[in-house]
C-alpha cells in the first residue's frame, strides 16, 4: 500500500516503512478512494509518516517510538494539532521529563513562530513545570525575530496572568515594555502589552496610588506622541488610560490643541512636561489629534461643544481623513441625535 519512495538525498531520514522497529505496524491510508476531491499532493516522506501516525492513533499506542514519530511529523507540519495532542498524551502516559520536552520546544518555537500549537504546547509544559522565569528571556529572543508576533505576545500575557502573584516574574515588566516601545514607537503589540501590565491584572503592588499611575501613563504617552505624532497606537493608548481610569478627556485639551493645526515655525517652546509640543519634523495637523479634540468637545456635551465637535468631524470627513467620510458622518449624526 505504500509507494516505496525512491531514496532521496542521503541526509533525509529513512521512511518509517523502511525502519525495522516499525515493521509490526499496519499503516492506515487516509482515504478509501484513490481519487478524493481536492487532494493535497503529499511528499512521500509526509505520506509515510502520517500513514504510521494514523495507525498509532488507531491502536492507541503510547510509547517512546511515538515520541519519535510525532516529532518527525510535527517537523514536517507543525500545524498538525492531532500530532501535538497525541504527543502530549504520550508524554503524560510515559511520565516523560517535561524539561527535555521544553528543550526541544526552544528549538521548534523559533522555527515555527506562527503556529498556534508550538505556543500552546509550551503553555501545557510550563503549567506542569511551574518555571516561568526563564520564559521571559526566551520570549524576548522570539520577539527579536518577529516583534509583533501575536502568539508570542499572548503567550507572555498568559504567563504573567497564570503566575500573577510571582513578583519576581513581574518585577521588570514595565521596563521591558518601555524598551519594546522605545525600539519601535509604532509597535501596537507593545502598547497593548503596556495596557495589560498596568491595568490588565488588577492593581499591582506599588501601583496602589492610582492618581500617580494615571499621571505616569499620561506623561509617558504624551512624551511618545511628541516624538512621532501620527502614531495611532499611542493615541489609542492615551484614550485607553482615560477610559480605563474613568478620567475626562478634557484633561488632554491643552496637550492636544497644538497637534490639530499646522506647525508654526515661529512658535517658542516653553518646557512643559505635561504638554510636550510637536517636534520640528511633525506632519501636522494630525488626524488623531483632531479626532481627540472632537471627542473632548463631544464629551463636554453642551450645544456649543457639540457644534465644535461637528466642525472638526466635518474637517476630517472632507479634508483630512476622506477615506472614513461615512464614519465621520455617523459620528456627527450620533452626536446631534443624542442631544
Amino acid at each position: 500500500m505504500k509507494s516505496r519512495a525512491d531514496s532521496e538525498e542521503d541526509q533525509t531520514p529513512a521512511l518509517f516503512s523502511e525502519r525495522p522497529e516499525w515493521s509490526d505496524v499496519v499503516t492506515v491510508p487516509q482515504y478509501e478512494t484513490d481519487t478524493p476531491i481536492a487532494p493535497i499532493l503529499y511528499s512521500p516522506e509526509y505520506q509515510d509518516a502520517s500513514d504510521y501516525f494514523r495507525a498509532i492513533v488507531k491502536s492507541q499506542e503510547h510509547s517512546e517510538r511515538v515520541l519519535d514519530l510525532t516529532e518527525h511529523l510535527i517537523r514536517l507540519n507543525p500545524a498538525h494539532y492531532t500530532a501535538w495532542q497525541y504527543r502530549y498524551e504520550t508524554l503524560l502516559a510515559l511520565s516523560s521529563p517535561f524539561e527535555t520536552e521544553l528543550e526541544l520546544m526552544n528549538e521548534l518555537a523559533v522555527k515555527y513562530l506562527k503556529t498556534y500549537q508550538v505556543w500552546h504546547h509550551r503553555r501545557l509544559l510550563i503549567t506542569h513545570l511551574r518555571t516561568p522565569q526563564p520564559e521571559l528571556k526566551f520570549i524576548e529572543r522570539c520577539l527579536q525575530v518577529d516583534s509583533k508576533n501575536y502568539h508570542t505576545w499572548s503567550y507572555r500575557q498568559w504567563l504573567l496572568s497564570h503566575f500573577v502573584d510571582n513578583e519576581d516574574l513581574w518585577r521588570d515588566e514595565l521596563d521591558f515594555v518601555e524598551n519594546a516601545i522605545g525600539d519601535d514607537v509604532r509597535n501596537n503589540s507593545a502598547w497593548h502589552h503596556r495596557h495589560f501590565v498596568v491595568f490588565g491584572c488588577g492593581v499591582r503592588p506599588g501601583d496602589e496610588d492610582r492618581a500617580r499611575v494615571a499621571r505616569r501613563e499620561l506623561t509617558f504617552t504624551k512624551q511618545t506622541i511628541s516624538l512621532a505624532p501620527n502614531n495611532l497606537s499611542a493615541w489609542n493608548y492615551l484614550r485607553g488610560v482615560l477610559d480605563t481610569m474613568k478620567l475626562p478627556y478634557s484633561l488632554l485639551t491643552q496637550f492636544v490643541k497644538p497637534y490639530t493645526v499646522p506647525l508654526d515655525p515661529k512658535r517658542i517652546d516653553i518646557v512643559d512636561l505635561e504638554n510636550p509640543p510637536p517636534p520640528p519634523g511633525a506632519q501636522l495637523p494630525c488626524v488623531h489629534a483632531i479626532e481627540m479634540l472632537a471627542d473632548i468637545h463631544e464629551q463636554a456635551g453642551d450645544k456649543d461643544n457639540i457644534l465644535q465637535a461637528v466642525e472638526l468631524w466635518k474637517s476630517l470627513a472632507n479634508e483630512h481623513d476622506t477615506m472614513r467620510v461615512k464614519y465621520w458622518e455617523h459620528r456627527i449624526r450620533d452626536a446631534l441625535n443624542s442631544r
Binding site: 487532494p39 494539532y81 509604532r186 509597535n187 472614513r324
Partner: protein, 523 residues
C-alpha cells in the same frame, strides 16, 4: 453606476512618519510604494473571474501543491474555501464532484462527534465549522446526501465536552481557548439546530471580556478563580493579545448570534459567580460590549487612499486582503446591534444628514459626491475603495487572490478577498420585516428549547439584501458576486437551505432577491 473610465489616480498622500522612522514605518513605506504602483491602471477595474475559476478548479481537480501540507490538518478548510469561492463567483458544482465532496466531508466526521482536520485526526471546532459549511454547499437531505449523516447528538456532546467554567470553549481536547472556536461552534449549532441555553450559558460574558481598550477583540481572556468559591471572577480578565481583525469578526458575529439568547424572556442568568474580591456582585447583569469603541476601531482599520482602501488587521500593521472580510464584513454585523445602515436611521438622522450634506456642497469640497454612491449608501466603511483594493491589488495575475502584491495567491486569501468584495458590493442587513414574517410562519416544535430555536432561526433568516443598493465598481456584469450571509459566510441560499432542513420550518419567500447565477440545485 459610474461609466467614466478611471484614469491615473492622483498622487495619494503617504502615511506621515514625522521624520521619526521605525521598523513599522519602514515596512509601511515599502508597502505604500508597491500599492501605489498598483493603483495606476488603464481601463476599468475588472475581476478576472476566469483566472480565479481556473485556479480553484485546478486545486479541486488536480490537487493542492505539496506546500499545502501545512494545511493537512485543515483539509475541511481547503474544501470550504474552494467551494465557497465557487459560490461567491456564482458557479455551482456538477453532481459528480458534489458527491465526491460529500463523501470526503463524511470521512472527516469523528466517531465521537465533530469533524477533524483530516481522516484519523482528532475532532476540532475549526474544521467542524468548515466541514458543516462545505456540507451546506455540497450536501442534501436523504441517504448519501451528507446532511442526515451528520451525527448531531454526538456533535452536541463534543461541544459540551470542550466547555470551560468561564463560558469559553477549548478548540479541541487539551487545546487552546479562543474566540475563533466559539464562532465556529455557534455557526455550526445555528445551522444544525442544536443550540440550547445550556450550551451558550456564560459565553456572551466571556466574549465581552475579550474586548480590548482599543475597541476590537483579542483572541481570549484569562480567567481568575475565587479562592473561596472556585468560581470565575468578574474581573480581572486580562486580554490575551491585542485587538485583531480575525478575532474581532469571530467575537462580533458570536455576539450577534447570542443576542437571540440574551433577549430571551425571562433574561437568562449569568453563570459568573457573585462576591468577587475584585468587582462588584454580578449575577443577572447583562454582559456589555462597547459598541462605540468597536465601531471606531473597525473604521480605523480601513487603510488610506495610498493603501487603496484595503483593511489592516491590527493598528499600525499592513493592509492584507483577508481583512476585507474579517473587518469589512463586520460592518453588516454592527447593523444588527443598531449601528449604521438605513434601517437604524431615525427621522431625526435624516434631517441631520440634510444639514450635513448641505454644508458639504457649500464647502465645494471633494470629488465623487455626485456619482450616486453616497445617496443611499449608509455603510460606515468605504465600500468603493475596498473593492478597488481587492481588484487592483488583491488579484494575482495568474489567478487566485492574495494578501497584497507581490505575494502569491492561496485558497484562504482567495475566499476572504472574494467574501470581502461581496460584502463591499452588497448591503445585507437584518430586516425587521423579514424577521416578523419568519416568526409568523414558525411552527412550534416539541423541543424544550423551542423558544430559543425560534429566536435563533428568525434572527438568522432575517438577513436580506436591501433592494437596489448593490454597488459594483467596474463592469458590473463581470465583477458582480453573489451576496454572502454576514454570519455564516455562506450564500444566503445555502444558509437558508440547510436551516430549512434541520429546523423543519418554512422560510418566507423573498420578493426581490436576484437569481443565483448558474447554480443547479439538485433538489
Amino acid at each position: 453606476m459610474s461609466t467614466q473610465q478611471p484614469t491615473q489616480r492622483r498622487q495619494a498622500k503617504r502615511t506621515p512618519i514625522d521624520e521619526y522612522p521605525s521598523l513599522t514605518s519602514r515596512t509601511q513605506q515599502e508597502t505604500e510604494t508597491i500599492l501605489s504602483e498598483h493603483g495606476i491602471i488603464n481601463g476599468e477595474p475588472t475581476l478576472q473571474k476566469n483566472a480565479h475559476l481556473q485556479f480553484l478548479a485546478r486545486n479541486m481537480i488536480q490537487g493542492f501543491p505539496a506546500r499545502y501540507v501545512s494545511q493537512d490538518a485543515s483539509q475541511p478548510w481547503l474544501l470550504f474555501w474552494t467551494l465557497q469561492s465557487f459560490s461567491a463567483l456564482q458557479v455551482g458544482l456538477d453532481p459528480g464532484n458534489r458527491q465526491r465532496a460529500i463523501d470526503k466531508i463524511l470521512a472527516w466526521q469523528h466517531p465521537n462527534g465533530g469533524f477533524s482536520g483530516g481522516p484519523g485526526q482528532s475532532p476540532h471546532l475549526l474544521p467542524t465549522y468548515a466541514a458543516v459549511c462545505a456540507m451546506a454547499i455540497a450536501g442534501r437531505p436523504g441517504p448519501g446526501g451528507g446532511w442526515d449523516q451528520i451525527d448531531r447528538p454526538k456533535l452536541y456532546e463534543f461541544f459540551m465536552s470542550l466547555k470551560q467554567p468561564d463560558g469559553s470553549f477549548r478548540v479541541a481536547e487539551h487545546m487552546e481557548v479562543d474566540v475563533r472556536g466559539i464562532y465556529c461552534l455557534l455557526v455550526t449549532a445555528v445551522l444544525l439546530n442544536i443550540m440550547t441555553p445550556e450550551l451558550v450559558e456564560g459565553t456572551a460574558t466571556f466574549l465581552a471580556s475579550c474586548q480590548t481598550y482599543e475597541g476590537g477583540f483579542s483572541s481570549a481572556s484569562h480567567p481568575f478563580y475565587s479562592v473561596e468559591t472556585d468560581r470565575v471572577l468578574r474581573s480581572p480578565k486580562p486580554n490575551l493579545g491585542e485587538a485583531h481583525g480575525g478575532y474581532t469578526f469571530c467575537a462580533l458575529a458570536s455576539w450577534v448570534v447570542l443576542q437571540s439568547y440574551l433577549n430571551l424572556e425571562p433574561p437568562p442568568a449569568s453563570s459568573i459567580g457573585p462576591n468577587s474580591q475584585w468587582g462588584t456582585e454580578f449575577t443577572t447583569e447583562r454582559p456589555r460590549v462597547d459598541l462605540k469603541r468597536l465601531t471606531r476601531w473597525l473604521a480605523n482599520m480601513q487603510g488610506s487612499e495610498v493603501e487603496l482602501g484595503g483593511f489592516r488587521g491590527r493598528t499600525n500593521k499592513l493592509v492584507d486582503g483577508c481583512y476585507s472580510w474579517w473587518c469589512g464584513g463586520a460592518f453588516s454585523l454592527l447593523e444588527a446591534l443598531g449601528i449604521g445602515g438605513l434601517q437604524n436611521l431615525t427621522s431625526k438622522d435624516v434631517e441631520i444628514d440634510e444639514i450635513v450634506d448641505a454644508a458639504k456642497e457649500a464647502g465645494a469640497s471633494k470629488e465623487e459626491h455626485h456619482d450616486g454612491w453616497d445617496d443611499i449608501d449608509e455603510s460606515l466603511f468605504n465600500r468603493k475603495a475596498l473593492q478597488e483594493y481587492i481588484i487592483l491589488a488583491g488579484q494575482h495575475p495568474a489567478g487566485g487572490l492574495r494578501d497584497k502584491p507581490p505575494k502569491s495567491a492561496d485558497s484562504y486569501h482567495t475566499l476572504y478577498c472574494l467574501s470581502g468584495l461581496s460584502a463591499a458590493q452588497h448591503h445585507i442587513y437584518p430586516s425587521h420585516a423579514r424577521k416578523a414574517d419568519t416568526l409568523k410562519t414558525w411552527k412550534d416544535d416539541e423541543s424544550p428549547y423551542n423558544t430559543l430555536r425560534k429566536a435563533v432561526f428568525a434572527d438568522v433568516i432575517s438577513w436580506t439584501e436591501e433592494d437596489g443598493t448593490a454597488k459594483v465598481i467596474g463592469p458590473a456584469a463581470t465583477n458582480r458576486l453573489n451576496a454572502t450571509h454576514p454570519l455564516t459566510n455562506l450564500t444566503i441560499t445555502h444558509t437558508e437551505g440547510i436551516m430549512k432542513h434541520f429546523y423543519g420550518q418554512e422560510i418566507p419567500s423573498r420578493p426581490f432577491i436576484k437569481p443565483m447565477g448558474t447554480k443547479r440545485e439538485s433538489k
